[in-house]
């Protein structure tokens, strides 16, 4: 699959702070789009209106579930970046530049070309999650093998169209966590919460 994109460099301002600011979050996403464009010779553009809508929808979820961070910071970040992926995909925050779409020769084996927008947004959320967890929790996390399996991506793309919330479950799967396929948008039903409750 080649070198992954969206590996964020350490900056003065923490990633978690940057990603919760509209203009800075857009800058981070633009970097990913540019990186993808350089690697795959295909221009990806941000739709500012759709991106703004997705961003503010996401911020609401981040703030509404802020208490969960005190219970399980790792799983909180995992969940909110899954929600970010859902909102960006649902709102179609990025798209392949119109005159560039004719260059696509999609084959399911090459995920980056087969589903450019899904690929860029997934790697954007993985990149921001990894950097945030590193900065906020001093923990290194890595994606699972599922991230390189075309069959998982095919399922992700097909299911996502009917139920955008499943992006959260697929994001968990990509990061090696057990997904909650039935109610992925409910933080109280996350396996990490259930596991914690059963131990108490």
């Amino acid at each position: 699959m080649g070198q992954p994109i969206c590996s964020l460099e350490v900056q003065q301002l923490p990633t978690w702070k940057r990603v919760r600011k509209l203009t800075l979050c857009r800058q981070l996403l633009q970097q990913c789009c540019d990186e993808y464009g350089e690697r795959h010779a295909l221009q990806i553009e941000i739709d500012d209106r759709q991106f703004t809508t997705a961003f503010f929808a996401w911020i609401e979820v981040v703030e509404r579930n802020a208490d969960y961070r005190h219970q399980n910071a790792l799983d909180y970040f995992q969940f909110v970046f899954g929600v970010l992926l859902r909102d960006l995909l649902r709102e179609k925050a990025i798209h392949v530049k119109k005159d560039a779409s004719t260059q696509l020769r999609p084959s399911p084996g090459n995920i980056a070309d087969w589903w450019p927008t899904g690929y860029v947004l997934t790697y954007f959320c993985i990149g921001t999650l990894k950097a945030t967890v590193h900065e906020q929790c001093a923990v290194e996390i890595h994606p699972s093998d599922a991230l390189s399996q075309p069959a998982v991506w095919q399922s992700f793309r097909e299911n996502m169209i009917e139920e955008p919330g499943l992006a959260i479950a697929f994001f968990d799967k990509f990061m090696g966590l057990e997904p909650n396929w039935r109610e992925p948008t409910e933080i109280s039903n996350r396996p990490a919460v259930a596991g914690r409750s059963s131990k108490n």
């Binding site: 600011k21 203009t23 800075l24 703004t52 809508t53 503010f56 911020i59």
Partner: protein, 279 residues
Amino acid sequence: MESKSPLPQHLSRDISQLGLALRDCARQLRYAARNVPGPIRSDRPLAPRPSSATPLKPPSYLSLESVAHLADDLIETAESFAGHAVPTLQDHWKSPVPLQPLTAYLELSRGSAKTLRKFSMAYYAAAKRMIMQSGAADVLIFEHRICATLEQMGAASSAPQAASATASRSALCLACAQLALSLIEMQPIRSTRFETLPDANAPWWLVTEPNAYVFLVLSLTSLAKDTCPSGIPTEPDAAVRFFSDVVGAREAAFRQALKGPEPQHALSQELEYVITHLC
């Protein structure tokens, strides 16, 4: 129902206020000429010339086109009478309209009528440009109502109050909420004509409540010039599009704030929430 007359309740002693009222009057006349359904001279097919030598009768209706020309003449007359006190305004909206920081406008609020015109000219032109660029066929805005809003705000606040309004981000958000609410209450946008759905993040809101949507966008644009010195688009049209997207994305929250029991407080909170997540 509220009168649509553009004449202010009390005619200002200042010539520029009178000029403004006359100009709004002419704008209303021109808008009506453009938009009231009716025969327009140039649209009527030419009648066949009668064979007899009887002279043609003049048309029995008043041409809307001629009313529009009359309105243009009236604007020119008002401008020439007002002289130097009334700078030309007609086409300001046709170029990008840079808005000043909110603090700059708050300082103007206690100035002379001529000073207040800097605010009303900018907000009139920016509002008209925003609406026209979103796809409107026509719009009627009363500039004197925009001017009166800031004048009233200035009259209602003392110098220490004005100074404290700029002291913190919360205070600025409160002042911004007050400005936006006052503008919305004054209803300077009298009429808009969209033939297709506007190209905006909240198109139906713009159609049904243009004053709320437009003046929230413009007030927020000015506020952000104080609170977000970097990161926001600097080109005027791009800035308005940016904040139009932001206000549209938070449409439900803004509407709720405007319709709540304490709109100024609620709107101030919502503005601060938005500003906090911008840059």
